[in-house]
Symmetry: C2
Subunit: 355 residues, 2 copies
């Protein structure tokens, strides 16, 4: 409560920021239905990609700390400003922590006042998956039915759900260096009706797959896929190479692929293409979605989504969640903004709080 | 509640982030006592300035939006990462909003997990005031007793409280272009035992003052002080010139003053010195506090603290508040971090939430 000056002790509406907790995000997604949520979220992302030039864009601000990275990802259009806080600490799982946790804030540009605070660990998994599947809708070979998934950690099932919701893919070939991760993903995904094949190696996993999703967590120049493993006409959805020094693909694959990216200024620092010269040609997805640039060239082309995650995707997710919670009980109000009756009398509000 | 996999439905401790609301920050400051709070906060800021090279520093990330600015201010040492969200919208008061609102987060570097979320509108006023008074302790003329305060908005009383707590200044000469702002500050500060003189102009206010605090809000190249108004041997605490296109002092004053700044890379963009050539000499305050550089040269020198506010001051405030709330009821736990029993089984946690 902000204890305003007036005799009415109810705090001003302006003092409150709606907060969506982890429990409430999960309730909300179940309420909507996860596949519909992923489709609608992808719709918001697609709409925002199609108005790309309207956004204030900057590469995220990364603090590389011992053991990981902490990032702030802001963006804004004319009416809303959003940012996400997200960490990436590959060794966190050893101590029972999540590799990635996140929260986000949406604000009104006209006043600078936050209008939404939400958990974004679950929401990031959903928006990353929705973006991947949205991109695959534009790039994957026609009629793709089988996806290899290399890396079966926290993101895996969300990716699978989105590829089914948006692309109709129901057959998955799973591989992880840790068999317990694969067993976990298999259990969760079979419960969702997926047809699962567990594989003994990455080489095994990619056999017959039309789409390959790589989603591993080690912060190193890893080589999950080598050139000889990847045939023609596939689509690679590369999720895990997303910060400097963290890649998944052998550069030979990159050199023969059509490479599609979110925001080149950020992807050249963080994505698979950090392994290539700075002037290597890439295609921006927003231009593909607007129909200004070609997507997949032909059936034989190897296409690659070099996904790193961009602030506009979080903005879309924040915007979608804000729309969903209007008039519901999926948010609680936090007393986060000091809002004295007289805006210049912050001290007076503070003093009256002592009474 | 995060609804973990185990039959124990209590969420993991890791899911929770302590949140300090506006009401609780006010309770906390009253509990400690505002003058002691300001002194202890200044002590934390001074300690952090003295270990300046240990911090990861970057100019804040500013989004200049119609009507104002929204900024993210991150910094980190080896164990903690902090950032503040803050807006500045000078026209907000016309619609009953605060010009500045803020909140902040402190995280553990080793895991990236947030360990504190707090309102920072009130806390920013306190840390800005504590920093100003701390700097004046190093730079103001010996035995200063009278401070002119030009601009009597939301920051004014906090500045006065800090200058009394740290520098012993109890006599104030107030001026604002809006007499109701001055009346508000007079009322609040007389209740705190200050000796107040209200003045009819900035020229009138500076008469006999040894310290001049300028703290106005208009986003323009304003000239609150001209060169002829400012004598020798004074200390100017310039708070209001803090973003591109927003200054308070005539450049002639800058050219004859000893200029002291927090972080030159940021101050040259945002401070009064944006009016000067990029190579104009300035002194960094952390070096003065470490005794590595001279502060005030002599009794006749005009000293200027070109205050813009730097992320380390917020970091110090977050660190201080986190220490204060340990074992108290000044914080409530927010279910902000998804924390499944198996860190890789985020989807399993999500699915179990449906039951």
């Amino acid at each position: 409560m902000n204890l305003p000056a007036s005799s009415n002790l109810a705090p001003s509406e302006l003092a409150y920021v709606p907060f969506v907790s982890v429990a409430n995000i999960m309730r909300l997604v179940h309420h909507v239905g996860i596949e519909r949520f992923l489709r609608d979220l992808a719709g918001h992302i697609e709409a925002d990609f199609k108005r790309w030039p309207e956004f204030d864009k900057t590469p995220r601000v990364a603090s590389h700390v011992p053991g990981g990275v902490i990032e702030l990802m802001p963006t804004a259009d004319d009416t809303l400003y959003g940012f996400k806080y997200v960490n990436g600490h590959p060794k966190n799982t050893r101590t029972g922590h999540q590799t990635v946790t996140a929260f986000g804030v949406l604000s009104e540009v006209s006043t600078g006042y936050p209008v939404l605070l939400t958990e974004m660990t679950v929401l990031t998994a959903l928006r990353t998956a929705a973006t991947s599947a949205l991109v695959a809708k534009y790039l994957a070979p026609t009629g793709a039915e089988i996806m290899a998934m290399i890396g079966n950690g926290a993101q895996c099932e969300f990716q699978a759900m989105a590829f089914r919701a948006l692309c109709g893919i129901n057959r998955l070939r799973l591989y992880d260096i840790d068999p317990t991760a694969t067993a976990k993903a298999k259990r969760n995904l079979e419960a969702q009706g997926f047809e699962i094949t567990t594989c003994s190696s990455a080489q095994d996993a990619v056999i017959s797959a039309e789409v390959i999703t790589t989603c591993t967590a080690d912060k190193q120049y890893a080589t999950i896929l080598t050139d000889n493993m990847v045939g023609r006409g596939l689509h690679i959805n590369a999720i895990g190479g997303d910060c400097p020094g963290k890649t998944e693909l052998h550069p030979d694959i990159l050199r023969r692929a059509g490479i599609f990216v979110e925001y080149p200024e950020q992807t050249r620092i963080e994505g698979e293409i950090q392994q290539l010269p700075e002037d290597h040609p890439v295609t921006e997805l927003w231009q593909v979605m607007r129909g200004e640039t070609e997507g997949r060239r032909d059936a034989a082309q190897l296409t690659l989504f070099d996904s790193v995650g961009f602030a506009i995707e979080d903005f879309s997710a924040l915007r979608y969640v804000r729309n969903l919670i209007q008039g519901t009980n999926f948010a609680e109000n936090l007393d986060m903004l000091a809002d004295p009756d007289d805006p210049r009398d912050l001290f007076g509000m503070f003093e009256r709080a002592a009474r």
